[in-house]
Symmetry: C2
Subunit: 339 residues, 2 copies
Amino acid sequence: MVRTVAQLRTPALLIDTPTFEANLAAMDAVLPGPRLRPHVKATKSTTLARHLAEGGHRSFCAATPREIEGLVAAGLVDDLLLANETLDTARLGALSERANITVAVDSRATIEAAASGGVRSVLIDVNVGLPRCGCEPAEAPALAELARSSGLEVRGVMGYEGHLLMVTDRAERAQRTAEAMALLTHAADEVGGDVVSGGGTGTFDVNTSCTEIQAGSYALLDTDYDTLDLPFAKALSVLATVISVSAKGWIIADAGLKAFGMDHGNPSWDDGEVFFCSDEHITLLPTDAVSSNGAAWKVGDRVRLWPAHVDPTVARHQRYHLVDGDDVVDEWEIDLRHW
Amino acid sequence: MVRTVAQLRTPALLIDTPTFEANLAAMDAVLPGPRLRPHVKATKSTTLARHLAEGGHRSFCAATPREIEGLVAAGLVDDLLLANETLDTARLGALSERANITVAVDSRATIEAAASGGVRSVLIDVNVGLPRCGCEPAEAPALAELARSSGLEVRGVMGYEGHLLMVTDRAERAQRTAEAMALLTHAADEVGGDVVSGGGTGTFDVNTSCTEIQAGSYALLDTDYDTLDLPFAKALSVLATVISVSAKGWIIADAGLKAFGMDHGNPSWDDGEVFFCSDEHITLLPTDAVSSNGAAWKVGDRVRLWPAHVDPTVARHQRYHLVDGDDVVDEWEIDLRHW
């Protein structure tokens, strides 16, 4: 078994274990137990999810039916929320005897799909300002009524303030989140049930209206979230090997855009600039002609790159390598990928 | 077995089979047989590669050792080129008895790695202007000498004009490619061997200097390449299901940025604008309030989205669904993913 980082094939996805554990502790200090409903779309690993469950977070949130199926197969069955609309409900209904599964609905069509697919419980998804799913707040009571008359348990509401997670100023973020959540809590009063679900890593501690927060990225973080004033640090990196050194000053490593989610731009590098990414290459412009080893950059050197967006980066890899200093202490499969 | 597109779960990666076959025919008309060395990094499927081999293209090009391993496992062993530098050469050397494998080298270190890893044949990779791998042209003869003295067969040179593939004006593209390839053919004369390998989809017919062209994207194409004057058409799309329709005019489908390579920007949609992508959602602004069916957009409608960059999009999916009209005629595994 591989025991040191130097022995890993590249590109390799690394979790810095002490930073990761510190992120989990920082979250637990604010949102212990069921106050956090970890979102597995960010981390896509049932091994990681089980680690969170052992820390007291036993209710999970997912974005796809596939993620729900994987959680059930892993025995994480206590309270699973598909925080997304789907018509592919038969996949979820087939698991109703084995797991407590709740699905977001925001229309007559999605309610009918839930009922006909054998889903038992729903949340009414309310649009709170993000141009995406969710009914208008005024429609929530009638949809709840329709769901109940279709035989579904309505556990409450959800509303995702995804447009506010990256508001830079904390006070503004808190104020606008409160305004968005006022829509949701009003709908919750009308809908009934005891669940008010929302939030994300960016609003985990300023969203004080929800009964549970759907955060996932906090565990690993990325350079985008790292620009905010959050008590989490970057734990996820991609390890690459320098395969070519140019006399013109750039060096090339073997992790390209296929190893990263690129929707938030290039990854970052502590020792210089990222010039550009190709499919399987990254061209780097080192700040200094010598590496941190004190020697000139050479073929075989290793570099670590910080992803700009954790979720789509993770989804590109088969496994995490958990590292502590130079040691590889564990390997976790990223088994919730694909659809 | 699924027989119609309507029965497919979404998101699903589709190949329009008639368009795909027309793309292959258009390429064959210009570069038959070994004049084309198809690059599997774009398509990542040994089933697709075998289809190309049946069409006369039996030499392949790859970007990673994993792709070479997969080609060998599939029996496509005639002439495989890793058109990239690697230190992970033992993986390739282990296959030397089963396949003819050639590796790109551009430094003493990569030559030593090739020799010590059991690789038998190399090409000297010459930098022709792209800020990436490749030795300076003047260094090529000495590297060839070093490789031969290390027991490696030097089959010739390669040089990739990746910075010229998207030059819009065809005459300028041809002129600048000729200038870049003059560097390569001069190096080829000095290095010896009979292979001069380079090119890509954008220069497949203007690069007249190489003995073989390393094109891959032509088979499926993307919206980026579709802006050029190439005889290829978009054959690759992502099928998604509308899961929510907003009273505010947008609709949301279930293929998000995890289903696309996003480095060239958002995918495109024939029936309107792409507003933005989230992990598992795409928010669309339809041009018309009614779909092509003549009815208002509704939950359950299907949409097809055109990726902006074929290579990283393909690498996100497990399989292609080959379609012809409403029929699904085959399913090909994308088995060359990961590393």
